[in-house]
């Protein structure tokens, strides 16, 4: 990659961001994830364009998987919305951590709307890694280019997964659908460095299906609140004990 500080214009910085996205290791993970989500959308009877728009508007793979599976399984709209919003709380601290890197005396708040909307795991990890080395004036354009690169990749692979699932024999279509739980389990496990996150992962894996098995109303919301709070309580008690 070219030395990032040599950009001559905002346009060059934007293209530099796109290039950085298309050559990043996240591209493979993102491609696999959205192939799986595309297959899921097909399986639950959504249209390919609905999925594409959901990728642009929601732009958070976990929320999209929750949305697809809740709506597809016939959950109440209210219940799906609660589960989506609980899964999205983590975006709040991410935005809080990202924006100070992009802020600049001349820019108004409205300039930060796009990077705010684009904030998601892949873009956030790469932005925090790459932006500090850039001159402040090019950061916003670079960050937007990076996001557009990731987002277009996700939309494209969503279509790929959707039409693959439509055309493949059952066994292979099943394997595509399996991409989502498998890759999410591993990426969540990898991201869960702190004990509290590992506890929450384990508790969610157990509580989620139990509540679903007994047809508890708002099962996803309770999985999050009960599992997350239990894991947090254990973490506080361990801290107090040490």
């Amino acid at each position: 990659m070219a030395e990032p500080s040599t950009f001559s214009s905002a346009r060059a910085a934007f293209l530099g961001g796109v290039r950085s996205a298309l050559t990043s290791v996240f591209l493979l993970v993102l491609g696999g994830t959205y192939i799986g989500i595309g297959a899921l959308a097909h399986d639950f009877g959504f249209s390919a364009w609905w999925l594409a728009l959901s990728t642009v508007l929601v732009w958070a793979a976990p929320a999209q998987v929750i949305l697809l599976s809740a709506l597809g399984a016939g959950s109440a709209l209210f219940e799906a919305a609660i589960a989506v919003t609980l899964s999205a709380i983590r975006l709040f601290p991410m935005v809080v951590a990202l924006l100070p890197l992009l802020r600049d005396e001349k820019r108004r708040l409205s300039h930060l709307l796009l990077p705010t909307h684009f904030t998601s795991v892949s873009m956030w990890v790469e932005s925090l890694r790459l932006l500090p080395a850039l001159p402040r004036e090019w950061r916003l354009a670079f960050c937007n280019g990076l996001s557009v690169g990731y987002l277009s990749t996700a939309v494209a692979f969503g279509f790929v997964g959707f039409y693959l699932a439509a055309g493949l024999p059952t066994l292979l279509a099943g394997a595509l659908l399996f991409l989502t739980p498998m890759s999410f389990l591993l990426s969540t496990a990898r991201g869960a460095r702190a004990m509290v996150d590992r506890g929450a992962l384990l508790l969610g894996l157990v509580i989620g299906p139990v509540l679903a098995w007994y047809h508890v109303e708002l099962d996803l919301m309770w999985t999050g609140i009960v599992g997350g709070t239990l894991a947090y309580a254990v973490h506080r008690m361990r801290e107090a004990a040490s």
Partner: protein, 114 residues
């Protein structure tokens, strides 16, 4: 999509997908100053989000729909376990874990599919 009722799927996407998700980003934009990433509130919210996602993952494997449901439950659980073990064994590589999980699923599905 029976729960959609008479609402247009695109309206549902805005109301149930976009807005409940976006509100947290906008809140971050408005309140961006002075929140520590290690604050207790952030730790709790991350734990809640992780537990929800874990619940969804488990439900997708255990109560599969469509094409994945044609592969027996024992194979789905075995493949998930094998993928996870491979992930732990091979330098916590997501790629290796997914590859092994998928291979076990395909083999199991091939021999035991209903």
């Amino acid at each position: 999509m029976s729960a959609l009722g008479d609402l247009s799927p695109y309206l549902v996407l805005i109301l149930v997908g976009f807005l409940p998700n976006e509100v947290w980003r906008l809140l971050g934009l408005v309140l961006a100053r002075g929140l520590n990433e290690d604050s207790e509130w952030v730790v709790w919210s991350r734990a809640v989000a992780t537990a929800i996602l874990a619940g969804v993952i488990a439900k997708l494997v255990l109560f599969s729909a469509g094409a994945l449901a044609a592969i027996p439950l024992a194979v789905r659980i075995g493949a998930t376990g094998a993928g996870f073990v491979a992930f732990l064994a091979i330098r916590r590589s997501i790629f290796a874990g997914v590859l092994v999980g998928e291979a076990v699923l395909l083999l199991g599905g091939f021999f035991f599919a209903r």
